[in-house]
Structure formats: structure tokens, C-alpha cells
């Protein structure tokens, strides 16, 4: 049986990859997000940010970081619905 543990399901990032990225120097949450891609997939971090922040805090001995910058929109939104909001100025 595989020992693979997923840290971010959307972007297929394993716990092992998170640990390795921290060890290689991505030892702040924003760098870790960029280096591993966690939190950038369909769920936009709802499932994985806290897990990754906790691992980071444990490995570095630093207090947990503030959450990564939240990116709007709050939920996936149709381009068509957003387009209707624009004032058509020609």
C-alpha cells in the first residue's frame, strides 16, 4: 500500500512534496503556495491552506502565518454574469 498522503487534492500536492519544499527553502506560506501550487486549484485553498500552514509552522517553529491573500471572486462565477455587470462604454 502506498504511503502517499495528499495535502492539496485539487492540485495533486502530497504531504511529502510540502515537506521537501519547506526543507529546500520555501519556508513562508506565500512561497510554499507558489512553489507547490497548493491552494490554486478548484477549491482555491478551502481544504488545504490550514493543513499546509500547520505543517509549515511545525517545521519552522514559527507561529502560523496569516492566511495567503484571498483571491476574488469568493466562489467560481460565470464570465457571462460578470460581463453583464460592465457598463458598456463602447
Amino acid at each position: 500500500m502506498s504511503e502517499k498522503v495528499m495535502a492539496c487534492r485539487c492540485e495533486d500536492v502530497t504531504l511529502d512534496e510540502i515537506e521537501r519544499a519547506i526543507a529546500e527553502g520555501s519556508d513562508d506560506l506565500e512561497s510554499l503556495k507558489r512553489y507547490t501550487g497548493f491552494g490554486t486549484g478548484w477549491c482555491q485553498g478551502r481544504q488545504c491552506v490550514t493543513v499546509c500552514a500547520r505543517i509549515l509552522a511545525q517545521r519552522t517553529g514559527q507561529p502560523p502565518a496569516i492566511p495567503i491573500t484571498p483571491r476574488p471572486p469568493a466562489q467560481p462565477t460565470h464570465l457571462g454574469a460578470l460581463a453583464a455587470l460592465a457598463k458598456r462604454e463602447g
Binding site: 506565500e30 482555491q44 514559527q62 483571491r71 476574488p72 462565477t77 460565470h78 464570465l79 460592465a86 458598456r88
Partner: protein, 397 residues
């Protein structure tokens, strides 16, 4: 501590310069950045790499940059997802069409495979495009897109492997000068409780000064503020630009599409997302990396006009970064007269990422040999005093 060269800004421009310096044997280089890698425009851009420009120097430089991109993954052992799907430029007025024709003719003389299309022919390149109102289009199949982040990491790792120090989370606080030269750069750690990072030789916690022979300013939108600390007044201004990304789709969009009428551009990443932006008229100048609802609405309207069937696709995320704009649309490159050992590499108009692979080589060559080139003279800060301005009209986003 001391370093022969201090590079300010660990974006792609600074890292490419440091890497090329090290490759020339100048390894005593310190690259500093106030934030993390990819925290500025190098981590926030659309990844476009194109040679379709309106000025000959930009066309020729970008031909070389594209060649470097083609070799980058193999040489640097990192996947940058470089995909040459071409750039399709669209125009919606006779005036812009004429400018596009002139640019395309120049590009062809420079050896590009650019071809001009009638408006309706644009749908031969992108079938889903609504060609209503498109007057002329141009397509260069050799333009492409990269995933910006690994490109930055590739240069950072390559530079570090050759002995360069990359100090993230260190802000420039000031300079020490003597006899019209910078003799030291004052740095301050920007995060507390420094975590031991590899073999860093930097003192932890407090501010310190790094003595140096040369300083290269590659801080993009932050450059004017840093130059001001040493009494240099730069004419470039930071200007927020926004981008958004959709849910991943199956691969269907080959080129990056750019509409010169409203600054819309969009491409499909290797992960399947549609990534793009649009120009907004009234964005106040200044460093601002916040997202706006206005952008999302304008971009969506413009994108859905270009490709109506995208209306049913969902936006997942948006973000912002800063363009670094100059009054004439050309960058600021090379030495200033005072202090004489400050080399500029900023003001790249939102094209800094794609130009960095070639500019890093040229900047390293200049620092290593001290020889100036015609290009550096054209792009010097001095042109705003002499009035010999440059011109580039193919600017999007």
C-alpha cells in the same frame, strides 16, 4: 559584508542578470528582495513571450529571448511550460489596422514569420472567435507563453548553484555614497524571527550594510522609490494591472489573443485555464496589488465579446501586479551619470518578464566588460533630458 555586485530586485530581471554575471565568472553577487520570490510582477504576469512589436530593437531582442526560452528547460533543468502557440493581434479600426500593417512589415523584414489576416480570417486561427468588427489581424506562430513561476525559480537556482547569494525578505533602506559612487547598500530584514536558510551568510534580525562596487536596479515598479534614496529621479511610474484565471478547460486555444482596441489579452495555460487581462482607463498611479470588481466586469465583457461561448465558463481567481511605465514606452537601461556605478534595468512597460532572458545577458555583458552599446544609449535615462525619446505602440493589458 561585501559583494562585488548588489542586484536590487529578485524578480526575473535581477535573477537573469545575476545568473549571467555568474556564468561569466562574476559570482560575488548578492541579489536582494524585500519579499519572496515571485512576489512582484515576475510572479503576477500573464507569461506572454512575443516578438511582435512595433520597434526594431524590441523585435530583435525578443527574437533572441524566444530562442533562450526554447532552450531554457533543458539548460536549467526545470519545466517552464513554454508553448509556442503564437500571438494573434486583433484591430477594430482603420487607424490601428494601418499601424498593425506597418509593424508586421517591419517584423517580416527582421525575419519573423508574422502574417497579416483580414478580420474575418482571424477565425481560421481561433475558430471560436467572433470576428464581427475586427478589421485586421496579425499572427506570428513563433510567439508563445510560459508559466512565469518556474522561470523565476530556474534563474534563482541556476544563480545560487554558481555561487550567487539570493537574499529574499531584505529591503533596501538606503545607500552609502562617496565620490559620486555607491559604496554600500543598507539592508533591513523584512520578516522577523529569521529561519535558518541554507548557507546564508547574512546577519539575522537587524539592519546592516553591504559594501559593493556596482549596483543594478531591477526592482520594477519599486525602482523609482529606491533610486530616490540615492538622489536619482526616475520618470517611471507604477501602474496596477489585473489578471484573472478561469476553471481549467480541455486544450482548445492555441495562440495568445490580444485585442489592440481595448487591451484585452487571453491565452490558455498548460493547466487548461484561460488567463488574461484588459486595459482599464482610470487606474491611479502607485503601487497597488489589490483586485477590483471593475476589472472583472470589464475583462469578462471584453472576453465574452471576443469569444461568446466563454460566457458559460467560470472565473476562479483574479490578482493584480504592477506595470512599470515610462513616459515614452521604452525601458530605462544602463548607467546613470550620478552615481556612476548605478546600472538601471527597469521601466519595462509590462514586458520585463519576456525581455529578461535576453536583457540579463546584455546587462551582465555590460557590467563585465564596462562597454556600452547603442541599445543602452537609446534606452538611457539621459534621453529624457536630451529629448531623444523612443517609441513602441504594441502595448497591451
Amino acid at each position: 559584508m561585501r559583494a562585488r555586485v548588489v542586484v536590487i530586485g529578485a524578480g526575473i530581471m535581477g535573477l537573469a542578470t545575476a545568473f549571467n554575471l555568474a556564468r561569466r565568472g562574476i559570482t560575488d553577487v548578492l541579489v536582494v528582495d524585500q519579499s519572496y520570490l515571485c512576489g512582484g510582477a515576475s510572479g503576477r504576469n500573464g507569461g506572454g513571450v512575443r516578438a511582435q512589436f512595433s520597434s526594431e530593437e524590441n523585435i530583435r531582442l525578443m527574437q533572441e529571448s524566444i530562442e533562450i526560452c526554447r532552450e531554457f528547460a533543458a539548460e536549467m533543468r526545470i519545466n517552464v511550460w513554454f508553448r509556442q502557440g503564437g500571438y494573434l493581434f486583433l484591430t477594430r479600426s482603420a487607424e490601428r489596422a494601418k499601424a498593425l500593417e506597418e509593424s508586421a512589415a517591419l517584423q517580416q523584414r527582421c525575419g519573423l514569420n508574422t502574417r497579416l489576416l483580414e478580420g474575418r480570417e482571424a477565425s481560421r486561427i481561433v475558430h471560436e472567435l467572433d470576428v464581427t468588427g475586427i478589421v485586421r489581424a496579425s499572427f506570428n506562430p513563433d510567439d508563445g507563453v510560459v508559466f512565469p513561476w518556474p522561470f523565476v525559480w530556474g534563474f534563482a537556482r541556476g544563480a545560487r548553484d554558481l555561487g550567487v547569494q539570493v537574499a529574499t525578505f531584505h529591503a533596501v533602506e538606503g545607500f552609502v555614497t562617496a565620490n559620486n559612487r555607491i559604496t554600500g547598500v543598507k539592508l533591513r530584514p523584512t520578516r522577523t524571527g529569521e529561519v535558518a536558510r541554507g548557507e546564508s551568510v547574512l546577519p539575522a534580525g537587524e539592519a546592516f550594510t553591504v559594501e559593493c562596487d556596482e549596483v543594478v536596479l531591477c526592482a520594477g515598479a519599486w525602482s523609482p522609490g529606491i533610486a530616490a534614496m540615492v538622489g536619482v529621479s526616475l520618470p517611471n511610474k507604477p501602474h496596477r494591472h489585473e489578471i484573472c484565471s478561469t476553471e481549467p478547460l480541455k486544450p482548445w486555444l492555441q495562440p495568445l489573443v490580444a485585442d489592440l482596441s481595448d487591451g484585452l489579452y487571453f491565452s490558455q495555460s498548460m493547466r487548461g485555464e484561460i488567463v488574461g487581462g484588459v486595459s482599464l482607463e482610470a487606474v491611479p498611479e502607485g503601487i497597488d496589488q489589490r483586485s477590483s470588481a471593475e476589472f472583472l466586469a470589464r475583462y469578462s465583457a471584453s472576453l465574452v465579446r471576443a469569444v461568446p461561448r466563454l460566457a458559460s465558463v467560470k472565473v476562479l481567481r483574479q490578482w493584480a501586479g504592477c506595470y512599470d511605465l515610462t513616459p515614452d514606452g521604452g525601458p530605462l537601461v544602463g548607467r546613470v551619470s550620478e552615481p556612476e556605478n548605478l546600472v538601471l534595468a527597469c521601466g519595462f512597460m509590462g514586458h520585463g518578464f519576456m525581455m529578461a532572458p535576453v536583457m540579463g545577458r546584455l546587462l551582465a555583458e555590460h557590467i563585465a566588460t564596462q562597454e556600452t552599446s547603442e541599445l543602452f544609449a537609446r534606452w538611457s535615462l539621459d534621453r529624457f533630458r536630451t529629448g531623444k525619446l523612443v517609441r513602441e505602440t504594441m502595448i497591451i493589458g
